[in-house]
C-alpha cells in the first residue's frame, strides 16, 4: 500500500458521496487547524455516518479515521456494527496501548466471537513493554474471568514479581486471582500469602506493594485473627532489623487499632508519635490517628 495520501475527491469509488463539513458554527471556540488529510477524511466519515452506510469502503474509511485519531469513539462504535475483526484490532492495540477505545473494542468483539485465541499472550506482550499499563491489566482481568483462564496466572505473576518486586499492578492481580481461587479466604490461604509477601518484604523492606498486599490479605472479608497475628509477628521482626521502617509501623498500628485493648491502644499512640517524627509528610494524619486512639482509650 502506498503511503501517499490521495484526496477522496480523486478516488473514483467515492464519486457518489458528497462530503459533509463539520458544523462548528460561525465563530467556534477551541477550533483545531486540522491537517487537510484529517479534514478530508472526517468530511467523508460524516457522510457515511449520515447515510448509515454498511460496506467494505465504509470499513476501510473507519480504519483511516482511527489511524488519524484512535480516540474517535464514534468511529470505533460504528466499526463494531460493521464487522467482527480481530486482526485489525491486534495491530491497533499494539500501537495505541493507552487508549480506552481500542481495549474496550477488543472486549466487545471477544464477547461476541467467544474465541479467546491467544489473547493472554498479546496482553502479556504489552505488559512486558509497559509493566503497569492500567488498561492492559484491566483487560487481562476481564479475559481471565470471562473465559475462566485462571490456571496459569499465579505462575505468570511470579515471573513479573521476580522481575520487579515493586510492580504494584502485579500484586493487585495476585489478589484478584487468590480471591477467586479461595473466595472465602481461609486461614491457610491467608497465612501462605502473608508468608509470600514477607519473602519480598525481606528483599526490600521499603517497598510498599507487598506490605499493602499482606495487610489486604489479613483484613479482607472481616479479617482473620490468625492472619493479623502473622502480620504482627512479621512486622515486629522487621522492625527489630529496621526500627524506623514506616510500613512496619503502619501495619502494627492497624493491628493495635483492631485489637482495641488498652495496652494496644497505648502502643498505637507511641507508634503514631514515631510516625509523626519520621513520616513527616503525613504528620497531620498521624496526629489525627493518635487523637482517635486517645479518644477510644478514654472510653
Amino acid at each position: 500500500m502506498s503511503n501517499i495520501y490521495v484526496p477522496f475527491k480523486d478516488r473514483s469509488e467515492w464519486n457518489d458521496v458528497t462530503p459533509i463539513e463539520q458544523d462548528d458554527g460561525p465563530n467556534p471556540v477551541v477550533p483545531i487547524a486540522y491537517t487537510d488529510k484529517f479534514r478530508d477524511t472526517m468530511n467523508y466519515f460524516r457522510a457515511v455516518l449520515k447515510n448509515n452506510e454498511i460496506s467494505e469502503r465504509a470499513l476501510a474509511l473507519t480504519d483511516e479515521v482511527i489511524n488519524l485519531n484512535a480516540a474517535n469513539y464514534t468511529a470505533w462504535y460504528y466499526r463494531r456494527d460493521l464487522k467482527e475483526e480481530m486482526e485489525y484490532t491486534d495491530a491497533m492495540t499494539e500501537e495505541n496501548q493507552k487508549n480506552y477505545q481500542v481495549w474496550y473494542h477488543r472486549q466487545a468483539i471477544l464477547e461476541k466471537s467467544r474465541d479467546v485465541g491467544s489473547e493472554l499472550e498479546l496482553v502479556a506482550r504489552i505488559i512486558s513493554e509497559d509493566s503497569k499499563n492500567y488498561h492492559a491489566w484491566v483487560h487481562r482481568q476481564w479475559v481471565v474471568k470471562e473465559f475462566n483462564l485462571w490456571s496459569g496466572e499465579l505462575q505468570y505473576l511470579d515471573g513479573l514479581i521476580k522481575d520487579d518486586v515493586r510492580n504494584n499492578s502485579a500484586w493487585n492481580h495476585r489478589f484478584f486471582v487468590i480471591s477467586h481461587l479461595d473466595p472465602s479466604l481461609s486461614d491457610k490461604t491467608r497465612l501462605e500469602e502473608i508468608k509470600y509477601a514477607f519473602t519480598s518484604i525481606n528483599l526490600a523492606p521499603n517497598n510498599e506493594s507487598p506490605w499493602n498486599y499482606a495487610k489486604g490479605v489479613a483484613s479482607a472479608k472481616g479479617g482473620s485473627d490468625a492472619a493479623y497475628q502473622a502480620l504482627k509477628e512479621g512486622a515486629e521482626a522487621l522492625l527489630k532489623r529496621a526500627p524506623v521502617n514506616p510500613f512496619g509501623h503502619y501495619v502494627l498500628l492497624d493491628c493495635c487499632t483492631r485489637s482495641g485493648t488498652n495496652q494496644d491502644l497505648e502502643r498505637g499512640i507511641v507508634l503514631c508519635d514515631n510516625l509523626v517524627k519520621f513520616d513527616g509528610i503525613r504528620k497531620k494524619y498521624w496526629e489525627f490517628r493518635k487523637q482517635k486512639l486517645s479518644k477510644d482509650l478514654a472510653h
Binding site: D23, N69, N72, T74, Y77, K132, Y134, V138, N168, Y250
Partner: protein, 445 residues
C-alpha cells in the same frame, strides 16, 4: 521548607526504583536552589498568572493541527481552559461566553440528550460532564438554559448498566467509575438527580474499593487516584458515604503523597504527576466530610457547608450531628449514655489544628517550583511538556491546598498566588456552583 526524604533506602534495585531515583534527581536541582536561597525565594515564589492566562486564551481561540488527536475531546479542552481561567480570576468577555454557549450547546449537544466530543459525534458521558461544567462556568441565563435537562436525564438513565449498577460511558461503551461520577455530578448540579439516577451507584462504587483501600475502575482493578476521586465523589453525591471503608481509603490516600517530591502519585510505586494534585488532593476535603459524618466529635461538621454539600439525612439541616439517628451507621460512634455530642466537650478531645491530612506546603512547592512553564501552562513533571489537562488539574489542586475551612487560607509564597476556591466535589469554583444550583432550584449538592 518541607523536610525532604528520598525514597526507599533499599539496595535491591528494580525498574521501578531506577525510575523513581531518576525522577528525584531531576527535581533535586529545583529544590537545591530553593533551599540555598529560601528566605528570598519564599517571598518571590510566584504563580505565573499572566503567562497561564495567555496560554489558556490562546488555546480557546485556536489550536494547531497537533491537536487532531483531541478532536473527540473538544468539550474537555473548553473545560480545562475555562476552569483554569476562572481559577486564575480572568473574566471572559461576552462575545467569548456566547461563542462557548453556541459551540457546546448548539453544536456538540445531541438532539436526543447528552453531548458529544465534537459536532456530530455520539453523545458520551465524559464530554457531557465537560460541556455541562463549561456551561456552568460561563453561567449566563443562555448557557444554563441551553442544556436540555429532560433529555439529558433520559440519556443518563439509558446508560445505567443493570448488572454492575454502574454507568456506561456511552451506548454499548465501557462501564467504569468515571461513568458513575460524571453522571451524578451533572445530575446533581442540574437538579435532575432523582432516585432513578442515583440508585445502586453506591453498591457499584463499593465493589470497586480494593484491598489497598483505594478505588479502581471496576471490581478487581488496581486502586488509582483518578478513579478513587470519582468513586468517593460519586458516593458523596448519592449520599452514601457510609458505604466506603473510610479508614482504609484515608490510609491509602495519605500514602500517595511523595515524601521527596511533595506532589502526588496516582498508584502505589508509580511516579509523581502534577495532575494528581487535584485527583488525590481534592479527596482530602471529601475524606474530611466522610470522617465528620462518622466522628463529629473529632471533625468539625462545618466541612459540609464548605463543600456546599448536604450530608446523608442522618443529620439535621444545620449540619449538626443528630445522635438519635446514629444507629443507621455501620460504624457509628458510641456515645456515653448521658453525654450529648453537641455539648462543648472540647477540653476532653481537643479539635485538630485544622488543615487537610496532607502536606499543603510540600504540594505547593512541587507545583510552583517544578511544574510551571516559563511561557505559561503547567506540566506533569520536569522534562514533560505543558498541556491544558495538566494546567487545569495542577491549578485545581493548588486551589484545594490553598483554601481551608477552619483557618485562613494557606498560601505558599506571595499572597497574590491565591487562586479562586474550587469546589472539590465538582471542580468548578464555589461561586459557579452556588449560582448554578440556585438557577435550577437547589441550595446544596
Amino acid at each position: 521548607m518541607h523536610h525532604r526524604k528520598g525514597v526507599d533506602g533499599d539496595d535491591f534495585s528494580t525498574d521501578t526504583l531506577r525510575d523513581q531515583i531518576k525522577t528525584e534527581k531531576s527535581i533535586t536541582q529545583y529544590y537545591y536552589v530553593y533551599r540555598q536561597k529560601q528566605p528570598d525565594l519564599f517571598r518571590s515564589l510566584s504563580l505565573l498568572r499572566q503567562q497561564h492566562i495567555s496560554y489558556c486564551l490562546k488555546g480557546l481561540n485556536g489550536l494547531s493541527s497537533s491537536f487532531d488527536c483531541l478532536d473527540a475531546s473538544r468539550p474537555w479542552l473548553c473545560y480545562w481552559i475555562l476552569h483554569s481561567l476562572d481559577l486564575l480570576g480572568h473574566e471572559l468577555d461576552e462575545d467569548l461566553k456566547s461563542r462557548v454557549t453556541d459551540f457546546l450547546g448548539r453544536r456538540c449537544q445531541n438532539e436526543n440528550g447528552g453531548f458529544g466530543g465534537g459536532p456530530g459525534q455520539l453523545p458520551h458521558l465524559a464530554p457531557t460532564y465537560a460541556s455541562v461544567l463549561s456551561l456552568c462556568i460561563i453561567n449566563t441565563t443562555d448557557s444554563l438554559n441551553i442544556i436540555n435537562r429532560d433529555k439529558l436525564r433520559s440519556f443518563i438513565i439509558s446508560l445505567k448498566d443493570p448488572k454492575s449498577k454502574g454507568y456506561r460511558m456511552h451506548k454499548d461503551g465501557e462501564v467504569d467509575v468515571r461513568g458513575a461520577y460524571t453522571a451524578l455530578a451533572v445530575a446533581s448540579l442540574l437538579n435532575i438527580d432523582d432516585e432513578q439516577v442515583t440508585s445502586g451507584v453506591d453498591e457499584y462504587v463499593q465493589s470497586c474499593q480494593t484491598f489497598e483501600g483505594g478505588i479502581g475502575s471496576f471490581h478487581g482493578n488496581e486502586a488509582h487516584g483518578g478513579y478513587a476521586f470519582c468513586g468517593l465523589a460519586a458516593l458523596m453525591l448519592c449520599k452514601k458515604t457510609e458505604k466506603i471503608d473510610i479508614d482504609a481509603l484515608s490510609h491509602w490516600a495519605v500514602r500517595r503523597q511523595m515524601s521527596y517530591e511533595g506532589g502526588f502519585q496516582g498508584r502505589t510505586n508509580k511516579l509523581v504527576d502534577a495532575c494528581y494534585s487535584f485527583w488525590m488532593g481534592s479527596m482530602f476535603p471529601l475524606i474530611h466530610a466522610c470522617l465528620a459524618c462518622r466522628d463529629p466529635e473529632l471533625i468539625n461538621p462545618e466541612i459540609f457547608g464548605f463543600l456546599q454539600w448536604t450530608p446523608p439525612n442522618h443529620y439535621s439541616a444545620s449540619g449538626r450531628y443528630d445522635p438519635s439517628k446514629q444507629v443507621t451507621f455501620t460504624q457509628a460512634v458510641h456515645f456515653e449514655e448521658e453525654s450529648d455530642p453537641n455539648d462543648d466537650n472540647e477540653d476532653q478531645y481537643p479539635e485538630l489544628d485544622g488543615g487537610w491530612y496532607f502536606d499543603e506546603t510540600a504540594l505547593q512547592e512541587y507545583l510552583l517550583l517544578c511544574c510551571q512553564s516559563a511561557t505559561g501552562g503547567l506540566f506533569d513533571k520536569p522534562g514533560k511538556s505543558r498541556d491544558y489537562y495538566h494546567t487545569c488539574y495542577s491549578l485545581s489542586g493548588l486551589s484545594v491546598s490553598q483554601h481551608q475551612y477552619e483557618k485562613p487560607s494557606s498560601v505558599l509564597g506571595n499572597e497574590s498566588n491565591l487562586l479562586r476556591r474550587t469546589n472539590p466535589i465538582i471542580n468548578i469554583t464555589v461561586d459557579k456552583v452556588e449560582s448554578t444550583l440556585k438557577h435550577f432550584g437547589k441550595s446544596t449538592l
